[in-house]
Symmetry: C2
Subunit: 455 residues, 2 copies
């Protein structure tokens, strides 16, 4: 019925990584694109001296950035992490590489620095106008207008032909759309929250820990992690239940003494890395995490959601931004596949992509348990070793679960189902062996042959 641009202006709400990338993809169809972002331009505004929020950039995100030709610029601001550095109770460390190959790398990247590159690239197209400090309030689909408030809190109504909601987990576009399209929304709030802490650089500017690893201090029911920044510091995050009846929680850490003794007890080798640990701990509110499930990602040829607005996930797999940018790429491909029928393209996008969004939502939750406790469990470690060995012996059929999510571009749902089958292979083999030396490799070969060939 309608192609992109037929109904009128192409509007993207949200100028974060998902929105900026999508705008560039849409501009390549030959249309002018208006991007409305609620915050000030992070390239110009003073964003303060606070800690840098960094994210894990992996293959899916890189594929999206490659598609808009900015990876050369992004590479300059990333730090490669080759595996997990697990910090054990006794102060020892156990390095667990992410994969077998040199390319099995996760890149630590500053969200703001990446966003700045994408905003620059958007402006360079000559087809994208960025409008900052425009906070979306609601969308009127009958009138085809979106209501914003500007920096002076004045109401501004903007006409659109098609509106793309890249406006995050609390998406106002989604809020208005679900009132007309009969869709459903569910937010599963995690019972755990997080606080960020900073491990500063050494006086000479070097990193205080190996910068080419993601550091984990697992503590069973909770954990601390740290990702490197190019300036020599690490952004650390403590994940902990909001409240608990039988263990530490943010609610139980109200005084300076409580915080100090908590870190001394559970994170003795981490605590010395953060000067002013207690002040840092109390700086700012406890963050919430949730998984957002939406059914009804689009409304006719008028609106469609991408990124957290459609599928917000918890951060434990480091896939939130990767998934958001990959969704932009998938949506763009559907528009190219059905160039004359935008409504059908949007519906097909949801039909194809929602199972993947559900899968990464699940796997992100599972990965919290893996990071905070499994990484020191002997059964897990044997299966991890076996998994990498099977990948080495049968690269055509077996790929370790983590790698399928991080270093492949197969659909997340496929990665999840493959992982489930593979874990049955691992179960069969480890039920008959106490160490990697006892594995029956003939049986392993037969079992692996049942798995589907990798794409």
């Amino acid at each position: 019925m309608t192609a992109l641009g037929d109904r009128g202006p192409v509007v993207v709400v949200g100028g974060g990584p998902a929105g900026a990338l999508l705008a560039i993809l849409l501009a390549r169809h030959g249309h002018h694109v208006d991007v409305y972002e609620s915050r000030p331009d992070l390239r110009r505004a003073d964003i303060g001296s606070g800690r840098s929020i960094n994210l894990a950039l992996a293959t899916r995100g890189i594929a999206a950035l490659d598609a808009i030709d900015v990876m050369d610029r992004v590479e300059e601001i990333t730090i490669p992490m080759r595996g997990r550095m697990v910090h054990l109770d006794d102060g020892a460390t156990n390095f667990q590489p992410y994969g077998l190959h040199d390319s099995d790398i996760v890149h630590s990247v500053s969200r703001n620095a990446l966003n700045a590159i994408l905003l620059d690239a958007a402006e360079e197209t000559g087809r994208i106008s960025l409008h900052f400090e425009m906070r979306c309030r609601s969308v009127d689909f009958d009138a085809s207008t979106a209501r914003f408030t500007n920096a002076f809190d004045q109401i501004v109504d903007v006409g659109f032909g098609t509106i793309f909601g890249a406006d995050g987990a609390n998406s106002p576009v989604r809020g208005s759309m679900l009132q007309v399209n009969g869709g459903r929304f569910r937010e599963d709030v995690l019972e755990h929250g997080y606080r960020e802490l900073t491990i500063p650089a050494n006086p000479d500017g070097s990193h205080r820990l190996d910068p080419h690893a993601l550091h984990i201090w697992p503590a069973g029911g909770f954990m601390v992690i740290a990702l490197p920044n190019p300036a020599g510091d690490f952004t650390a995050t403590i994940f902990l239940p909001h409240t608990s009846n039988d263990g530490p929680s943010f609610a139980s850490l109200e005084t300076r003494d409580e915080v100090e003794s908590f870190f001394a007890e559970h994170f003795a080798d981490f605590a010395p890395l953060v000067p002013d640990l207690v002040d840092d701990f109390f700086d700012g509110p406890v963050g919430d995490m949730s998984t957002i499930h939406v059914q009804g990602w689009s409304w006719a040829d008028q609106a469609v959601l991408v990124g957290d607005a459609a599928h917000g996930i918890v951060p434990f797999h480091g896939q939130g931004m990767n998934a958001a940018m990959e969704s932009g790429l998938v949506l763009d491909q559907h528009i190219r596949d059905r160039p004359l029928d935008l409504a059908a393209a949007f519906a097909a996008y949801e039909a194809g992509r929602r199972p993947d969004a559900d899968a990464i939502g699940d796997m992100a939750l599972q990965n919290y348990i893996e990071m905070r406790s499994d990484v020191v469990d002997p059964d897990y470690l044997l299966k991890r070793e076996l998994s990498l060995e099977l990948e080495k012996r049968h690269p055509d059929r077996f790929a370790a679960r983590y790698g399928m999510v991080m270093f492949h571009t197969m659909g997340y749902a496929e990665a999840e189902t493959r992982a489930r089958r593979q874990s049955r292979v691992l179960d069969q083999l480890t039920a008959r062996a106490r160490s990697i030396d006892d594995i029956d490799w003939d049986l392993a070969g037969a079992l692996v042959s049942i798995l589907d060939p990798l794409p």
Copy 2:
């Protein structure tokens, strides 16, 4: 944007099993439905004394007939077939049951008798008007009119809001739609054709062969099959290459002598069952078979295809009508899932259903080889026996391929992928065993445990 009926009249083109069933499903949304059928009303017209065309009705078709509450009537006209009766060269027979369970039955049913029940049921809704001898010529989507020619060859233009193309493999609705929706069409014509023959009843009205079986006379590169009719006769079909350089073909059977000696050589025990075999053979043209692939099953909220119009397949799995009726059910469910957005429902229907259509198209082609040659191959027979034994031992994870298509309602694509994995299990086990008695059942259990649990 629009719900069913919002744009205007609901029109179904085609009053065969797929169209009649779909009309009933659509009428249940509360709308009046007009059905246009090119042929005369088969319940009233003299359809001649020609042979009855019968079809295989299995679980998917039954599920659709159940959904419109006509199975009690349909049951009265079906003959249960419990397996394949394979007629060997030496005149012996080998009965191969379709499955392990009493309910693993395929029903032989007359296409016309089934269609008559569906047309009656359509009229009984009080919401469906049937228009016979109205041949669709083309559809004008700008004007929202469909052009028909009536019995007097006069042009009749009919306005529609939404048009459903259940108009068969040569679908005129599809022809017009693909000109506007940018879709693609491919017809893979099989190099083999078919002719129908009749095995009459015994003088006392009884069947000349076991009526509770589908009879096969496999001949390697070609075959004869026969399905029972309630009147005591069988409709037999010979499948043969149209032309061939190195074997028999319809082109090589031009004279009475050639036909007689061909049957004497290849189907010595079948030939005596058909009196006037040669006359019967030459009665009517050789039939063509093809697989129809369509990308772009719908156009906005205006048109959508079901059945052969969207996914014509070859007859060797006995699934053509089952798939057509199941597609009606699937489409109806998508309309119910997105009641306010018909265009999105249509797009989601294609996105979800096309992989299944592709899968049954593939499997129907494969089944020709299975029927005409594998059914007498020792390796195939061992795997078939093993497959049923594994289904018996591991009913939660293993289901013989044929049964997944015929006696389950899981998506065809899922059935095909499961079958592929299962065949690797069979390969592993039979590579280590010469008969069912040599099978390593421990290994079998380990291999089967890798398969996904059945739904």
